[in-house]
């Protein structure tokens, strides 16, 4: 609940599309059906700058609404990491009109559920409710866009809650591992900071900091409402206009700044020594996102190198050499700024991290030296096409994709996703592998288990309370 979600791979294996034709050259003899799944989105812009994306679907008498703000951990100043997520928590602490606890109470009373999540690029709030209650949730979200109450007692209690959340996530070896890898792979871009923030910064955040942050970023011109479900588009727009449309633009709002990570000049490495059962190894390479012409080929590279069970890394490390319990690749196509192309292996008992790392690198070298076969390329494309349809099988997930894409630039890039992949060639995949998966562009992280508490110290006792 109110989770920080790390959406590293929102579209790595799940994009959406308008027309799914199957023009695989030399595909098996059977007739390929042309599938039509319309992305039936209406875009609406209000006078105050707020945007809305509406996707009607009457398959169930329900609606999912997500309100996205173009502010995430990416937008935090040094010393105030974690403030976007902390504010997300405070958004449930009441407004001038609806006191503490009322938000949740009203939604639940009406059979709805709600939550929120913060990412590197955004903060989003959502409700799922019977479609005849749409106005109720619109009114509540519009209210807390500008009327939030920030009070000392709740602010202090919530700070402890955020610390507990941080402990839950990062008290675990794998959590610490990924946090350190990101902190080293980026030097100046705020993607280097954990979304939840560094503990010392969370401690230092004041109500004043948060008031300023809220006023600056929570305004109509910085928000996108995404609706998926059983409603009439014109009626839903009228309700959005009625409640959000009258909120004035924020006088302190400024467009989010352009940020760019400095180009990496040489290889980096980090060792993470923690109390853990097994080693872990990951390689991270800076790679461009959807804004680059290379991005579609990187999606295919991710799939071929480390997507499914037939991918090269999985076959080599998990199946053939049994070096790892799991292994694969991870690439983020949709984001505001470029992220990292990861290769990783969860090392198996009795095996060495060094051998797993060597195998990962050999698979990269082999792909670059010997190329990609037509067969594996076709299989990867079919896999992504099928997953693209499967991704539409949920109101929640469609609203999530639309919002993520809208925040990153344009929801229409979802429509262009598969057509762009179809233009990629096996040679193009090799070309981007050579270009980005280089030693110079690499950060390696290795988790080394320490042995201090390997043995369970279990005591069982009996007694009353």
């Amino acid at each position: 609940m109110r989770k920080t979600r790390n959406l590293r791979a929102i579209l790595s294996a799940a994009g959406l599309f308008l027309l799914l034709a199957m023009p695989h050259p030399g595909a098996d003899a059977r007739t390929e059906t042309v599938l039509r799944v319309p992305w039936n989105v209406t875009e609406h812009k209000m006078k105050n700058g707020m945007r809305a994306l509406l996707l009607p679907d009457n398959s169930a008498p329900m609606v999912v609404m997500k309100v996205w703000y173009a502010v995430g951990s990416r937008d935090e100043q040094p010393g105030l990491t974690g403030i976007a997520h902390y504010l997300e928590h405070m958004m449930f602490r009441g407004t001038k009109k609806y006191g503490p606890r009322r938000f949740s109470e009203i939604i639940k009373k009406n059979g709805g559920s709600h939550n929120a999540f913060t990412g590197f690029d955004y903060t989003a709030y959502y409700e799922r409710i019977a479609s005849d209650r749409l106005e109720l949730i619109i009114e509540l979200e519009a209210d807390r866009m500008v009327n939030l109450l920030l009070q000392k007692a709740a602010f202090d209690a919530e700070k402890n809650v955020v610390h507990e959340e941080r402990r839950t996530r990062y008290d675990r070896p794998v959590g610490k591992f990924w946090e350190q890898l990101r902190a080293v792979a980026y030097t100046n871009h705020p993607y280097r900071n954990p979304i939840i923030g560094w503990p010392e910064d969370i401690d230092a955040i004041t109500i004043k900091d948060m008031e300023a942050f809220y006023k600056r970023y929570y305004s109509p011109e910085n928000a996108v409402a995404v609706l998926v479900g059983d409603f009439k588009v014109d009626e839903a727009i009228a309700l959005l206009e009625k409640h959000f449309g009258k909120i004035p633009e924020s006088p302190t709002f400024r467009k989010r700044p352009r940020l760019a990570e400095f180009p990496q000049k040489s290889e980096r490495r980090v060792y993470v020594r923690v109390d853990a059962q097994l080693p872990y190894v990951a390689l991270g390479y800076h790679a461009p996102n959807w804004k680059s012409e290379d991005a579609p080929a990187l999606v295919m590279l991710e799939a071929i190198l480390g997507g499914g069970e037939t991918s090269r890394i999985y076959q080599r490390l998990v199946r053939k050499d049994t070096l790892a319990l799991g292994a694969g690749a991870d690439y983020t196509y949709i984001s505001v700024d470029p992220m990292i192309f990861y290769l990783y292996a969860r090392v198996a008992p009795g095996k060495k991290a060094a051998d797993a790392e060597k195998a990962l690198l050999e698979e990269v070298e082999k792909l670059i030296a010997k190329g990609v076969t037509d067969e594996e390329f076709r299989r990867a494309l079919r896999n992504i096409e099928a997953k693209t349809v499967f991704a539409m099988d949920s109101h929640y997930f469609r609203a999530r994709l639309l919002g993520t894409a809208a925040i990153a630039g344009d929801w229409r890039l979802l429509e262009g996703y598969l057509p762009a992949l179809r233009k990629v060639t096996p040679a193009g995949v090799v070309r981007v592998a050579r270009k980005y998966l280089s030693h110079k562009n690499k950060t390696t992280a290795e988790l080394i288990p320490t042995k201090k508490s390997r043995r369970a110290n279990t005591a069982k006792s009996r007694g009353g309370r």
Binding site: M1, T33, L35, A60, M62, F92, R101, S104, E105, I106, K109, N110, G111, G112, S113, I129, A130, R133, L136, E139, A157, K159, N160, V161, E164, R167, T168, D171, R172, P173, K246, Q277, G307, G308, E309, T310, S311, V318, R319, T322, L325, R379, R382, N383, I384, A386, V389, F390, D393, H395, Y396, S453, A456, N457, T458, A459, K460, R462, G463, R465
Partner: protein, 442 residues
Amino acid sequence: MRLHRILWTLAAALLLPAMAGADVITYEREELPGGGVLLVKQSRQLPMVRVAVSIPAGARHETPEAAGLANLTAALLTRGTKTRSASDIEKTNDTLGGGVGVEAGRARAEASMRVLTRDLEEGLSLLSDVLRNPVFPAKEIEKTKRRIAGGLRRQRERPGHLANKALRNSLFGETPYGRLVEGTEASIKKLGREDIVRFHQKWYGTKGTIFAFVGDVSLGRARELVLARFKGWQAEGGKIPEAAPPETPTKMQVVKIDRPLSQTTVLLGNRSLKRTHPDFYAARVMNYILGGGGFSSRIMDNLREEKGLVYSAYSYFAAGRHAGHWRLMLQTKNKTANEAINEAIAEVKRIKEKGVSNKELQDAKDFITGNFATRFGSSSRIANYILAVEILGFSPGYADEYLKKIRAVTKKQIQDAARKHIKLDESTLAVVGNLSEAKLAY
């Protein structure tokens, strides 16, 4: 003016809790020759079909000595058949966008897949092949055993896993509900190919198996496919091993596990009602108020909103067909472990001793009934629901009965349910954390 309108809107919404009835979820049910059942929920929204086959071949069909056998058997079904190698199966799976996966649970095993409509026939051909014709190659058995054992090892890094293992073991002992479905590193080691082959022959067949289809497929088409692919599929059957749960304690049992963590994980639980118990509905509403209602629950309100002690704290009834228990979970920094446990237990006592208010009761009912209609937003949610209804022995019209029974729950029934089904004296408290910092008073 504006305020007035908004208040009116809210008032109207509050007065009319969302209604949900049988029309929320309807599907077709048909019995198959050989003792199986076919369930179909057709929807043409997307060109895809989800298929789930639930087979009575879970951990409760294995003996305690062979712990992990059901899971190992399920995992090996996709590692080679009479006509397909493991690599062939992987290729087909990847081409289909995921393809067939098989997993064992405590009561049953489930094979499932998600395919584009155009791939349904190919998918079902693979699905039936892995269920009917596995060959269990010796090499694959060794690799799979090592992988499962490695997974168990990695799980030990997770405090929640350690606490769960301790709680289950204390409540259910040698029964399948007291151990991990994966078994232990030692028990897996002892399992041989013969055991796996026998388990498959004995339990995998049409009898008691449920075939659920959700999505772009008609009843007629689903029936035709199942009859063609699963004709003559028979299991030998046999006696389900019986094991008695541990004696019911008369005092709270405490299990402490020391780990160098900054946060303590706490589980508190007792053996409790099964899903078919008539008190289930009152227990469900009661627990929503106590710890199941997220931010609206008493435990969250006290421990999180008020005191900032936890990020996560909740309780639920894990009520199944064959066993059930109630549990409460919380995580807090080591230093506040005692305080958080005390507060959570105080909430349990308060609901037992003082019951709930009219408003709490009504709010809980409004949520549970109103939320019901929003629970079917994806094919996997629909498939899980219709399978659960069938497994529990309810009819396809169960949704109506469920909502009716929830609406009929009274304050007295709530307090009775708390008294009868949450039993602190019979409970186990499992704690994982830095014990020297936590200084547990338990």
